[in-house]
Structures are given as C-alpha cells and as structure tokens.
Symmetry: C2
DNA sequence: AAGTGGTCTAGACCACCTG
DNA sequence: AGGTGGTCTAGACCACTTA
C-alpha cells in the first residue's frame, strides 16, 4: 500500500491545450486513500484510526505527511482528533456535533432538543425530480417519510424526507420511532451511511393545505422552505429533504466567512 | 518584536477551580501579532505581506512556525496566499471573493451582478436595538441607508443598512452611488474597514406597506428577512443589515459541513 | 536566475490521556 | 511510564512567478 513519490497525475509530454492539475502532492494521495478506507467502512463511525506512526509505516511516508492528510480530513469534519487519545471517525451521535446540521435556533432561551413525531412512511418509485436530485434511475425505489418537530408541544418543522431504498434496506417506521438520538446517528450506526456535508436552498413560501394544518398555522402564513441535499463520501447524494419551518419564535442562523 | 517561547498565558501555580487554557503555542502568538498588524492597517487590503523568511526573522522563530500562522489566517479568509508571488491581505474588490457574502442565487442562468439603486441616506442617533447590535452607546450617531437590488429591472432585495458614523466619517450618498464594485470594497479602500465575517438570522415574513411597494409585490407575499451583523477584526461589529429578499426566482444557498 | 510559497523529511520536545 | 496527538526546528527540494 505504498504511495508513489512521483506525481499521481503526471502531466503529459504534449501540451495541446492541456490544463490538467499535473501534480498531486503526497499528502493529497494519502488523504484520498484514507477517504477511500473511510467510505469502505474500514473504520466505523466513532472508532479510532491507527496512530500516526502506524499510518506513516503503512504508507511508507513520514509522520509529518500523514499528519497533514489527517489534519485536512479533520478540517473537513470527517475525522476528529483528540490529543493523547487518537484520531476518530466523526459521528453524528456525539453531543459535540449534535447540532452540526441543525440551523434553527430559538429566539429566546437555550437550544433544546425538539420532540419528533413521525407521520408517514412509504416506499415508492422515485418521481423524476427526486430521482434526479438523488442521482437515481427513474423507477428506482425510494423511502419517503414525513415528520414533525415540536418545541414545547408547538409544531415548528415539517420535514418530507426521501432516501434511496437500496442503502437503507430494512429501514422501517418502527426502527425510526424507536431510535434515540439524531436520525443521522441511526443512518451511520445501522446502515453505514455517513452524512458528510449538505447543500441547502432556502425560500419564503406561504402555508397552505394539509401542511398548514399540520403546522397549526393559518393559510398564507409565511414559512421558510428549506431544501436539503445531503451527501456522503465522494459527494454521493443519499438524502433529499424538504422542510417547512415556522419562524415566529425561531430563526435560521448562518455564518459567513 | 520577538516572541516568547514560554506560554503566553502561563497557568497559575494554584489550581482553585481554574480552567484557563494555560498554554498558547508560538504560532498562535504570531497569528495574534499578525492580526493586530492587519487591524492597524500595517498592510492594506490587496497588499503583500513580507515574505516568510522576513517574518521569521522579525519574530525570531522558524519559517515553519510563521507558515503555520499564515496558513491559519488564510484558512479564516483574512489572507490569500499565491505560490510564487506572495501572501496578500484579502480584499472584497477581487473577482474571486466577489460573492463571498452574497448567498442569493438565481433559479436559472448564471450569477449576474445585480443593479443597485440607493433610495435613502440619513444620519441619526442610533435607536436602542441598533446601538446594542453595533456595541454603541445610546445616542451615538449612525448612518442609515436604504437600497434596492434589481435583476433584469425587477426588484429582488431591499436592504436597510446601519453603519456606526465614526469609522465611516465622510461617507455620502454621492460617494456610494459613484463607487463601482461591491460596497465592502468601498469600505475597505476608503475607510480601512475590513469586513471579516458576518452572522445572519433568517426568517420568513409577509410583505407590507412601503416595503411591499418598493419590491413591487402584493401585501402578504412571503419574503425572506435576513438580518446580518458584519464584524471586523477582533469581532468588532461594524454593520447591521436588514434585507428583504424576493424568492420567486432566486434562492438563498447554504452549505453545511 | 532569483524569489516566492508548497511539500517532505527527521528529530526533539511538549501536552494530554490511560494504566 | 508509555502512548497519543501538538509544536517547533532545520534543511532539502519542488512548483510557480517575474524579470
């Protein structure tokens, strides 16, 4: 499992309109190999990786080069480093990263875990737009679920969630309801599916129909519409989410850097 | 201007419920010194810093330690590193970072610069909530301006902006209108005020009154309300912005990591 | 050719955690 | 005491830019 010291993507001898990277540093190659091992679940969520000296030996590079690759993966949130203990695969089950993907904050008071209520669970053929967003073939099966999040008995979020059926084979409404902790914790623990990052598109829409009823708001009440596409390793989409947020007592927080 | 090798914040000998960091690595001290120089405009936006060997000599540390400090500042977006050329102070005037703080994307077609139209410009005593958000004393002067952003002649964003009067002394409606390029580019070039990062709170609200008219929407049309607080060095707040966004043909994009 | 940042190495030492 | 990650150093070499 050694790594070549020469460019991984050597530049061609010709130069006819070529704009290839033509150079890949060692630590990037190590990073790619580590990412591959992570995606193959060589180490599972929450588990420790081998120590830096061990990895250096495995890849036949210096410890400093391994370190640079590990630091990069930690910066992307795939790994967590703990001085004196080791390097661990990041997990959604932890307190520390509990709220990584939850941007909704109460106007007053501390952030409190909201109650969940599952309303619906179906298996169906993916509609064209869902299939496209999840990179599925038209006709592939998807799981579709609807849930409500409540703060103080008041509904705040109504989520419609689509999952590709194949990686989540065996998921049932019962297992969802029974699981304690964040849903992404269930996904990684039971199905080996790690949510790495997500893209969201946010709009303002007017409440209407059954959704207004479920959120207990008048029709025409302004709501946030949050469309989330969650990705796992290699940017493979594995979840689509369409959430309606009430923002009378909560807001969506964001940081620009 | 040398830097101590011993902890900058040495832990106390006693241990009575003490939880202080008790240790500050050298590169963090260098980073703090560089940040200080940046905030004092020792190097202005777009200018080059001294080279790594020069900085290493100035601070009496190795080049590797300087490098680690510079890399950290680059990761935070304060500096831009360019191989073969040097390390530069990040600037909002550049193409590359033009859209760093602009999250509104058109549903279709490429991102195009929107037209600006300034509607209002006032100097007034800061209301209590504005003063608090900008860390001003009640009664301090603020500049307040209102502007419209249009895409294809259609209004899309209505911004109300509050600035503390002191750092922006001499800002007029004319200079604002005359300036080509992003507003934050004007702030850094003319007033030495660098916007480093910002916090946003997003809600859905119903259009009403003069604001509905200016955006040319019916009352009750759902709009995004985006409250932005922009910060400069040392997290000093220097701008407050309250924007209303039409989201029929645009969306607010976000990335979760 | 000379200067810049970028990579890689080897070694020393430090801080933190666990037995 | 021994293992883990974190810091710091010094030196070699590489890639990119400019003159």
């Amino acid at each position: 499992m050694a790594v070549s010291h020469v460019p991984a993507v050597p530049g061609p001898d010709h130069a006819l309109g070529d704009v290839s990277p033509a150079f890949s540093p060692l630590y990037q190659q190590i990073k790619a190999l580590l990412t591959r091992s992570l995606s193959l679940s060589e180490w599972k969520a929450g588990e420790a990786l081998p120590s830096e000296p061990e990895l250096a030996q495995r890849f036949k590079v210096s410890q400093g080069t391994v370190r640079k690759a590990l630091d990069a993966l930690a910066a992307e949130g795939l790994l967590v480093r703990r001085q004196g203990k080791g390097t661990f695969v990041a997990t959604h089950a932890e307190e520390r990263v509990q709220y990584r993907f939850l941007r909704l904050m109460p106007d007053q008071g501390p952030r409190v875990a909201m109650q969940r209520r599952f309303l619906d669970f179906n298996r169906l053929r993916a509609p064209a737009d869902i299939a496209r967003a999840l990179s599925l073939s038209s006709g592939d099966s998807v799981l579709q679920l609807r849930r409500l999040l409540l703060a103080d008995e008041q509904p705040v979020v109504l989520d419609d969630i689509w999952l590709p059926a194949k990686p989540f084979k065996g998921l049932t409404a019962e297992r969802l309801s029974a699981y304690r902790g964040p849903m992404y914790g269930l996904f990684e623990a039971e199905f080996g599916v790690q949510m790495i990052r997500a893209e969201e598109k946010i709009r303002a829409v007017a409440a209407a129909g059954a959704e207004a009823d479920l959120l207990r708001v008048q029709p025409l009440t302004p709501l946030l519409l949050v469309e989330r596409r969650s990705l796992t390793y290699a940017d493979r989409p594995v979840e689509l989410r369409r959430g309606l947020y009430r923002t009378e007592a909560h807001y969506y927080r964001n940081e620009l850097n």
